[in-house]
Symmetry: C2
Subunit: 337 residues, 2 copies
């Protein structure tokens, strides 16, 4: 078996750090591991499996000999380096949104459409965090009964905006308790003790980019251009894990009890649905692990073809880093067996 050279671009950020953790936990076979980041991060030391690795500043020649590149960086960085890495022979797994809707780029949730990786021409895209969480929860039902329509309201954690989002909530809460003025920088408004119905830029149709991602990416992942996903994305003062309130309209009647059975053993899902004993998914419980918790399954009151559910997942792990590492594991199985 080939000794693989794996590299992470953006290795020092929230998602990059979590990719390293996921690699450690999953015992991925690798020969060398290279950590790439912005030039100002170069020289930093990172401990990995007991070894000290040194962060390199990324530049156009960084990808010689790299077999698989995990990109945990902003769109502009991915657009600059991903095509270069592909030309230098790497398979790129990109967590940015730069290539997600490119028809030549598969968009993959391993529990949903693992076979799509084979259609790649160098880049494989990792979907949006809320979309991954929703897809893992909805796919087991979708496979049995076609979903025509999803209406989603999200409750998204501040770490979706990176480590600066986390710090901003902590600082604001601390300032509030001390009676000091609250400073804001990352979010458009104070996030401590508030809800902000605004994640990413607004589009002409009144939806944000984040809201449209769930629509476009959901269709692409499920290969279903008839599916409509209408989404309202809101930021809540939670450190980690996104929650989603989802209404699913199927093209036939689906029973909540059957849905529960379909979810019970579904890959990547933990059914957490015993409300009478106060058991339902919550962001505190889903943080720092890889499953999407699904619960509060119940028949819609208006539409016998509709079900409502509530799901939560760690958007940094399954919603980003872990999903990318799972894609990498598929790539290794498929291309480097």
């Amino acid at each position: 078996m080939k000794k693989l050279c794996i590299a992470i671009l953006g290795a020092t950020g929230v998602v990059g750090t979590e990719m390293l953790k996921a690699l450690e936990e999953r015992d991925v076979p690798w020969g060398s591991l290279r950590l790439l980041a912005a030039p100002e991060e170069a020289g930093k030391k990172v401990l990995f499996q007991g070894r000290e690795l040194t962060v390199e500043g990324a530049h156009e020649d960084s990808f010689q000999g790299v077999d698989i590149l995990l990109v945990a960086a902003a769109n502009a960085i991915s657009e600059r380096f991903s095509p270069v890495a592909v030309r230098q022979g790497a398979i790129v797994i990109d967590n940015s949104s730069a290539y997600r809707l490119d028809p030549r780029v598969p968009l993959v949730v391993p529990e949903v459409n693992p076979q799509d990786i084979k259609t790649h021409s160098g880049i494989i895209a990792n979907p949006n965090c809320s979309t991954i969480i929703a897809m893992v929860a909805v796919n087991p039902l979708y496979r049995r009964h076609r979903v025509k329509r999803m209406t989603v309201s999200t409750y998204q954690a501040v770490s979706g905006a990176g480590i600066r989002g986390l710090r901003e909530l902590e600082q604001q809460v601390s300032a509030y308790l001390k009676g000091e003025k609250l400073e804001k920088d990352v979010f458009q408004h104070q996030i401590a003790f508030n809800v902000i119905p605004h994640i990413e830029a607004f589009q002409e149709n009144g939806y944000t980019k984040e809201e449209m991602k769930m629509h476009h990416e959901g269709r692409k992942i499920l290969h279903d251009d008839q599916l409509t996903v209408t989404c309202t994305c809101a930021r809540v003062p939670v450190f980690r894990s996104h929650s989603e309130s989802i209404q699913l309209v199927f093209d036939e009647e689906v029973d909540a009890a059957e849905a529960r059975e379909l979810l019970r053993d579904a890959p990547g899902v933990k059914l957490v649905d015993d409300p009478v004993h106060n058991v339902y998914p919550m962001p505190l419980d889903t943080s720092n692990q890889d499953l999407v918790y699904v619960g509060r399954l119940r028949q819609d009151l208006a539409d016998r073809h509709a079900l409502n559910l509530w799901c939560c997942g760690d958007q940094i792990r399954k919603g980003a880093a872990v999903n990318a590492v799972q894609i990498m594991q598929l790539v290794i199985q498929t291309y480097f067996p």
Copy 2:
């Protein structure tokens, strides 16, 4: 004009205190004002319009001479005292949920169905807080285009659980920052930095009581048994003001621009819908005032008959105390002109 005797039962609680504020602000004509509460609260002093009032312990003979009784107490207390007060000649405006679905009791949001107060036989009920906020936002649209169906996901503040809910969030946040153990008492789980999709008891159909209130009370307020409201209620770590993500399905096509015009001058509504400039309703902005802020109006992506919106309102003021005082003002105009 008769000098009215007004009494508040539960005058020392969160809602009772806010009723007093609303009475002060609105300059309601009254001859005497009596503050009733649990026996252990008796003797407390409350400042009202510069005068010191003394809280009385409530008992079965407390209501002699009372013209209007505002009840800001739990169901059991209302069930014990409201019928007694009616027999002693008072008109009761009850903020508990004890009588809301009683066919002899009108359920009133003054902006929506003020005429209903005339059908009372002693008790007029004040609706659930989330329901009031949704009704104020939806009614101006409903009047022009019938709504067949509402799908609502709520983001509810901790003060919905009273002053103890407020304190619990503050204490948990403070303990978190000090690295201490978080204690919980009021909520089923830690609420600091968490979301709990559970408000009030679960019913057999998998919905909570709180979720079913929006359905049953919405129908009663709008006099529309065909309307279906499917709701998911979640508690978020916000001190005050509930937020709601609402999808409305009309029986015909409705344009977002028209909806915006209908809401612009609607009673009790403030249209706050300029997303490109980061302007939309948020709980921080709607606290300690009486309007329901409505924004993020946009066409649904699947259904041309549907619109989505986001609204926020202070659930202690318009969602409870202020709505009750507005009902009282209608009662005074109608019965004590």
